[in-house]
């Protein structure tokens, strides 16, 4: 019987045919954790599961990205524990301060492969669907069990197909596609489901990562882009992984990309989405360009193109945090960084930065931030009454330039 991409991947990882609704125990190709969760994960492994040696250290990965470099004594101590644990267990996929955000590195460093299952102790692990992997976020205990056994269990999700057609207009980004989708299905629209993106052939790997990253904001268990030439350029795709006629989809949503305009999610909800032009004039104090959702070279290029030869508005601070060391290096070598600096932006070390409100850009009471991140919940980036607007790098750059939320198409 025909299967969705998720059913194919999970069947392969389970070693038996599974269908939506089944509980399945699957082999995990890569389990990953991060500095902020590693200390409690180590406690679960050593103190609760009494693990002495991990069976598959080559299938584990640890990233120091959530507070990198350490901001205080507890975070520094936690990172010391993570480093010692990786060394003791022989986890070679250990990425220390400055290497970048876990999700970016999982793909950039080929730690996850098309057609495999990857679990991470971070909700944006759905990002790996960009290369046709089944990536999903889990909590400490689940990931600890994946470290301890090389396997995990899950309920095979139903799949919603999202059919994309047409091409994006200039200054419109993959972020706008996913914000449009959020406005249609809302923050719980894909709960327990997988999303399969069809017709994404015109989108770059970077854009696909933006799409898949944000599927978790709709409650999805996984978001997978149908593999094609772009996927194969990155990594080999198994022959068995392909769209099958007759696969059962719970719903089909169609989106014409040429209809989409620059959009913004208003605080404090990710699904409170309006056109950027409708927010024209909303003052911002800080513009944050970065995160696993939109901190890649493509995003830095888009921002630099808008800021070129100009200067950000007085009273606005613009913080650029590349998603990885490789992005930072590439942006340095091709002059993008110089263009952003000339425009008045400042640069932070690759990592999660201010997105989770822990350091390097925390918002004070009443402040307004425009961020290219993925969440605008109250208190997410600092004071509970600080406001976070979310959108693309293009809207972020146009907003930094004017000091008020600005549709990038309004910039000459």
């Amino acid at each position: 019987m025909a299967q969705t991409l998720s059913e194919q991947i999970l069947s392969h990882a389970a070693g038996r045919e599974v269908r939506a609704g089944d509980l399945a125990v699957v082999e995990v190709g890569r389990a990953m954790t991060i500095d902020s969760i590693a200390p409690e994960l180590i406690d679960v492994l050593y103190e609760q599961l009494h693990v002495t040696q991990l069976p598959h250290p080559e299938r584990c990965a640890i990233f120091v990205d959530h507070v990198a470099p350490a901001s205080n004594l507890p975070t520094a101590q936690g990172q010391v524990r993570a480093r010692r644990f990786a060394q003791a267990q022989g986890i070679h996929a250990f990425y220390d301060v400055g290497r970048g955000i876990c999700h970016q590195l999982m793909i950039e460093e080929h730690l996850v492969q098309p057609g495999t299952v990857a679990v991470g102790s971070d909700s944006h692990s759905t990002t790996y669907g960009a290369i046709a992997a089944f990536g999903t976020g889990m909590g400490t205990t689940d990931v600890a069990l994946a470290f301890a056994t090389g396997r995990t269990w899950l309920r095979v999700p139903e799949t919603v197909r999202v059919d994309l057609s047409g091409d994006l207009a200039p200054q419109v980004d993959a972020k706008d596609i996913v914000l449009r989708l959020l406005s249609l299905v809302r923050a719980d629209g894909f709960t327990y489901q997988a999303v399969e993106f069809h017709g994404a052939t015109s989108l770059s790997l970077s854009s696909r990562m933006t799409l898949c990253s944000m599927t978790t904001e709709m409650g999805a268990k996984a978001g997978i882009v149908v593999p094609d030439a772009v996927t194969r350029q990155h990594a080999p795709v198994p022959d068995w992984l392909e769209v099958q006629d007759g696969a059962v989809y719970q719903d089909v949503i169609t989106l014409d990309l040429s209809d989409i305009e620059p959009l913004v999610a208003c605080p404090p909800r990710v699904d409170s989405v309006v056109p950027a032009r409708q927010l024209a004039g909303v003052h911002v104090d800080q513009v944050y360009l970065g995160t696993c959702t939109n901190g890649r070279l493509q995003d830095l290029h888009a921002a630099a193109a808008i800021l070129d030869g100009r200067h950000i508005a007085a009273g606005v601070r613009m913080i650029v945090v590349p998603a990885s060391h490789a992005v930072l290096q590439a942006a340095t070598e091709d002059g993008t960084l110089a263009r952003l600096l000339s425009a008045g932006a400042t640069i932070g070390p690759p990592g999660c930065g201010a997105c989770i409100g822990r350091h390097m850009g925390v918002l004070g009471s009443g402040e307004v931030c425009f961020s290219t991140g993925n969440r605008n919940f109250a208190g997410r980036m600092g004071a509970p009454d600080a406001l976070i607007y979310l959108g693309s790098a293009q809207v972020a750059a146009a907003t930094a330039l004017r000091g008020v939320i600005t549709d990038p198409r309004a910039i000459d």
Partner: protein
């Protein structure tokens, strides 16, 4: 009698516990003081073991942080009742052995109302009587009976696996 803490729709994990108050940034011991610290500052000082959370849809959306359900567990919350849960929170709570019930009681109960819940009976008792709660799927009940997924795994040396489709 304990009490009900009533919340609306889409309670995200940043509301349950902001990332700045994670054990990583502070300490595990401080977790209990920081539950709902900004969203509902009266919660942590007044919550008592056995209290029940009744909420709207999509409870626990957002981050995968397991310290969000763990904070509620450490406060002694007897159960969380909501018409739907965000999937990672749902898993985390089951893994930790926190009773969850999928039911919409937001129109039936009020904040601060006296109530008692015995998870084994799947009944929320108020002065008006018993509100029966739908029991979770069998495999969830099994994990919860062991007190969480770690204890379950240690006892059975396997993960829950069923081939028959079910819904919740």
């Amino acid at each position: 009698m304990n009490r009900i803490w009533l919340f609306g729709d889409d309670v995200d994990t940043d509301q349950i516990i902001p990332g700045r108050y994670s054990p990583y940034m502070t300490s595990e011991d401080a977790l209990v003081q920081h539950a709902f610290i900004e969203h509902r500052p009266d919660f942590a000082p007044n919550v008592r073991p056995g209290d029940v959370i009744v909420a709207g849809s999509n409870f626990g959306c957002g981050s995968s942080r397991e310290y969000a359900p763990r904070a509620l567990q450490k406060c002694g919350i007897a159960a969380i009742i909501a018409p739907s849960f965000a999937r990672i929170f749902f898993r985390n709570a089951i893994n930790l052995g926190i009773p969850l019930f999928v039911a919409d009681l937001t129109q039936q109960v009020s904040d601060g109302q006296a109530a008692h819940l015995d998870p084994a009976d799947a009944c929320l008792t108020t002065l008006d009587g018993c509100i029966e709660l739908p029991r979770p799927p069998a495999f969830v009940q099994q994990i919860q009976a062991e007190g969480g997924i770690v204890a379950y795994y240690q006892r059975y040396h396997r993960f829950p696996e069923e081939q028959t489709p079910h819904t919740w």
